[in-house]
């Protein structure tokens, strides 16, 4: 709880100092925004090595609470560090691309905590996804602004998928907002299967989500494998 409040306070302060206070409210108020749920069959994922070979002194690792609390890994912002601590305490799993002890990209996921107990997350209700046993949901990827445009988003997602596959999970879910072109592009580079879209309206804690149409999947995205990239 303490981390949550610390995160909120730092987020607001960072938004004020960066002149992005408007963005915080934008994240709480949507009208008919289109979300595109995506899915991947992890069992068909082809092994890939050297995903980050172009980035010297870097490695991809799962976050450990102790290492974050002792500042072994530095985050791009203070709020992100508190969010990481909060997420880990909530039982989420987080992974980061770390270069010279700095987290330059991180991504989060929720995995089943008990055998036979599917994951639960508010996003899944919004996306109309009913996860089954052994399925995982990934969310909230952030890349250090200094490292954007260096083609790290796709390898970070792929590294996460490979880690989850290695842990025996079968299906990977995520989503992107259709109006977020870089996110759309990243997901299509990953060749994830697109599920029926959702129209989402949100007013702070109140949210309404409606499925519309069928999955509008480009022919090239009909498969759910990670092959081809």
């Amino acid at each position: 709880m303490l981390e949550h409040f610390a995160m909120i306070i730092h987020m607001i302060w960072e938004a004020i100092t960066e002149g992005k206070l408007k963005d915080i409210f934008h994240d709480q108020l949507w009208n008919q925004r289109v979300a595109v749920p995506v899915q991947m069959d992890l069992t068909t994922l082809s092994p890939q090595t050297d995903l980050f070979k172009e980035l010297e002194n870097s490695y991809f690792a799962e976050f450990k609470l102790e290492k974050i609390q002792t500042n072994d890994w530095r985050f791009v912002t203070t709020s992100r560090r508190y969010k990481a601590i909060r997420n880990l305490k909530r039982g989420f799993r987080g992974f980061g691309l770390i270069k010279d002890a700095k987290v330059i990209g991180d991504i989060w996921c929720i995995v089943p905590t008990q055998i036979g107990k599917p994951i639960q997350h508010p996003d899944l209700d919004m996306l109309g996804i009913q996860a089954k046993e052994n399925e995982v949901y990934a969310f909230d990827m952030l890349i250090d602004p200094d490292f954007r445009g260096k083609r790290l988003a796709v390898p970070i997602q792929r590294a996460l998928q490979m880690a989850l596959k290695a842990d025996g999970y079968s299906t990977f879910y995520g989503f992107y907002w259709q109006d977020n072109l870089p996110a759309l592009w990243m997901h299509r580079m990953l060749k994830l299967k697109e599920l029926p879209k959702r129209r989402v309206s949100r007013f702070f804690f109140s949210m309404k989500s409606v499925s519309f149409g069928s999955a509008n999947v480009p022919a090239s995205l009909g498969n759910t494998t990670g092959k081809g990239d």
């Binding site: 445009g149 759309l184 592009w185 299509r188 580079m189 509008n216």
Partner: protein
């Protein structure tokens, strides 16, 4: 300039922004080489829609349609005939 040359010129001057080893070829792999990435696609899409007065639907925003100058020209042609 024809469609192909206009697109080549834009990619060269606005996305690559530096001299290439050789002139951009019609079949050079733009996605695989990283020339068209998640940021490059934003400027390229804006340019194509404005320059050719077309609307490219999200279903057509996939790597296959942007993998080379030739496939981009084909995409523009298809949208112009709609």
């Amino acid at each position: 300039m024809n469609t192909k040359d206009v697109i080549k010129d834009f990619i060269q001057t606005e996305i690559v922004k530096h001299a290439l080893d050789k002139p951009l070829d019609d079949t050079d792999q733009l996605v695989e080489s990283g020339i068209v990435d998640s940021l490059g696609i934003m400027s390229l899409l804006s340019f194509l829609e404005e320059r050719f007065s077309i609307q490219i639907p999200s279903e057509d925003l996939n790597p296959e349609n942007f993998e080379s100058v030739s496939t981009i020209v084909a995409l523009v042609d298809r949208q112009q005939t709609h």
